[in-house]
Symmetry: C2
Subunit: 246 residues, 2 copies
């Protein structure tokens, strides 16, 4: 069994194409938010009950977050334990530090927390999404994970350039890149009543120039595969901090 | 200058006690959400403009997330660049994997992304918060960071047991712990109209038993200091994945 979810909602074309492609290699169940969840909380919903609506055979809509969908899918909806969770195909990249806030990646995190191998897959574009290319690549990755597994407590974050299959060179194993602010990042404006308001994002966001990052791969027409884990501890700092005398 | 924020909202006692304590060592500005934000998105608000309301001298309420507050505080509100950002004092712990979803920690992340040293501080309890003890410890940490700095791209996640000062043994430098699900994690119920609904969290969440984690420290009456960074890449997997032939 393969559990498929996303944060664009169960009616997004990305999840439909993905689910269909994965049927080639497994019994696919879709459990996804009943609407787009990109802009809301990615945590588990603990303060209210959740409703599940069966939309059609093996398609379930949840009035919660992507993490909720994975949690309910594994613990309540699916008839057995899935061997893999796939989150996507997201409309838009999840590169660099953006993954901290990504619903797509948070669903894969939740699966990892529950001990099920998983990956997130996103298309790096703002429109004209070529879901088929990404879906075919997802099948290749899924097949490999089902055969070989992933290291404990890790997941994969995959970003696919929005290009025709022939224009994509290959794939690269990468590390997480970093956004760098270039210039002022806030724009101040005045409303018709003379009151100030602010837009975040006035400055230009550019990526650092390091080699082997997710961003470098995608901008050179490669699919990026970044292995992630859940432990944010910065181990090199531990020894240093132990010398502090607070 | 020190920028103070939180995710419980600008009227929370935790931020007021914290700001007051930090005045001892610097010029403190408070920029915080205008209401409690624990349960909503922790990303930057890019799809709508933000309003800032000056509540009193050096206190600004923002109709956005904790990350928005840090971003606007540094780039638009404060008269100069802060030397430190402190997020808290949160009503409730931010231990183990919970930090992935924590508004308190996300504010500190945003500061780190913008190149300003920062830490998050939380009280591990559900009620009867002893903010004074945590605030005094925050001052000690802040003083140290202002003097010694932090490693590039790192921040501190501090959790304080909710005990009287004499009952707290000392502090420990720790690593991020991990929640483990114990038993079924979803409870299924039936509403009066015969429709099913689900509660997440039916099972018991317990921590792994590893040594030197944030959880171990706090449960033994120590303050926990975990150094974090923003890079989720699992480097040991890179070599292994490079051997895949997808």
């Amino acid at each position: 069994m393969i559990l498929v979810t996303n944060d664009d909602g169960i009616h997004s074309k990305g999840i439909i194409v993905l689910a269909k492609a994965l049927q080639e290699i497994g019994d696919v169940f879709v459990v996804a938010p009943d609407r787009e969840k990109s802009a809301i909380a990615h945590s588990l919903t603990l303060h209210r009950p959740l409703r599940v609506e069966k939309i059609k055979k093996k398609f379930y809509a949840v009035d919660g977050t992507p993490a909720d969908c994975v949690h309910l899918g594994i613990n309540a909806i699916l008839p057995g334990r899935p061997r893999l969770v796939v989150s996507g195909i997201n409309k838009g990249g999840n590169l660099g530090d953006d993954i901290t806030y990504s619903g797509t990646v948070s669903a894969a995190f939740e699966a990892t927390l529950l001990g099920v191998p998983s990956f997130a897959i996103s298309l790096v574009s703002r429109s004209h999404f070529k879901f088929d290319v990404a879906a075919r690549f997802a099948v290749r990755v899924a097949r490999y994970i089902l055969k070989k597994g992933l290291s404990k407590d890790t997941l994969l974050n995959i970003n696919v350039p929005n290009l025709g299959e022939k224009k994509i060179k290959s794939y690269k194993i990468t590390q997480q890149g970093r956004w760098v602010h270039n210039g002022s990042a806030v724009v101040e404006k005045m409303d018709p009543r003379g009151k100030k308001y602010y837009w975040i994002g006035g400055g230009q966001l550019v990526f650092d120039k390091r080699k082997n990052t997710d961003f470098e791969a995608v901008s050179n027409a490669y699919i990026s595969i970044t292995p992630l884990h859940l432990d944010l501890t910065h181990y090199p700092s531990i020894g240093r901090l132990k010398k502090w005398r607070l």
